[in-house]
Symmetry: C2
């Protein structure tokens, strides 16, 4: 690192975290492919070369952003894999942990969910996402086997609907507004596991 680079990095508001956070904001607004480094420079009010000081390309920025979402989710998965006990409880822990990461890293997870595999960076992210999806599907399958989840629906479909509901939070949650991630997780778990209907005695 040159002295010049250190100096530039030190300028307030121009560190890599700020560049990353603002870039993700713009990617989510305009779509990744619809965003140019020029757009990012304008929004950040810095020069293109100041961005290139931090990252070598727009793709590298995307990689960093997706990694921020994925490492959070992977830590939850790692914790869940280390647990014993009924699959239903582990699935519940995975669900709540995923909601927490989604709430805490909302713009990053939002970006992750829009990735379609248009580049090597996107394909690598999809591979990591699929590994998480497989864990969810395995836990659903085990919980069905243990008699805790309904057996009449394909476990893969169940897992997708469950996490589809979780992921739909990115459509309407606002950063830093409203309920805590634990409260949100509680509601999602209640709806998913126990359903919306009131079961009245006949």
């Amino acid at each position: 690192m040159t002295t010049g680079a250190t100096a530039r990095r030190g300028r307030p508001g121009h560190d890599i975290s700020t560049v990353l956070a603002t870039s993700v904001e713009v990617f989510n607004e305009r779509g990744f492919d619809g965003t140019s480094i020029d757009d990012l420079a304008r929004r950040l009010k810095i020069s293109k070369s100041a961005i290139y000081h931090h990252v070598e390309s727009k793709d590298a920025l995307l990689g960093l952003a997706l990694d921020r979402a994925l490492t959070g989710l992977e830590e939850v998965a790692k914790h869940v894999r280390s647990l014993d006990g009924p699959a239903m409880d582990r699935l519940d822990t995975l669900l709540r942990g995923s909601v927490a990461v989604l709430v805490e890293r909302l713009p990053y997870v939002t970006l992750l969910l829009r990735v379609r595999g248009n580049s090597e960076v996107e394909r690598q992210a999809l591979t990591r996402r699929r590994r998480l999806d497989r864990l969810a599907a395995e836990l659903v399958k085990q919980a069905v086997g243990e008699g805790d989840l309904r057996p009449d629906i394909d476990p893969a479909v169940t897992a997708r609907l469950l996490f589809g509901m979780v992921n739909s939070l990115t459509e309407w949650l606002k950063v830093g507004r409203g309920a805590s991630s634990a409260d949100i997780a509680e509601v999602v778990a209640a709806v998913a596991f126990d359903g919306l209907r009131v079961h009245r005695e006949a």
Copy 2:
């Protein structure tokens, strides 16, 4: 319309439906803002002017595509508004009808769900979408009032989670593959209303 235009329109694969279907495919792959009329022309293997023969702009194409999703959903809403009976039954009809439109017009609904309000066309689509969301929220509220849906969750949140699950189908359903829309609607309704958990006697 000139004779030339009629002739061009008559050429197989170059009618407005094909232009629209292919454009929506490309928009979903690359994002609307990341797609140029050049990209569309290349994919359609026609000239840009052949596209401009059908529509005056990329925005107009987007408008047509979003309208295809929205009119389908609005027809369901209109039918539901005409019904009497418990709100729970009307909500169930809205849910199943929405799933059917989603399955039948999958790429169009997928595109609709990604709209963020970046242009006048997108903002108009969002206004129409919000009208549909309001119907869902009203029905949930009524069903809670009638004692059929759990009262411990904010009706607006319930409606969002419910249709969040429906909308998440766009992430993994494949056009023309697998179960019928009625089967898919059955599964979504079962999970949403009755939950995933098996309730065993103590």
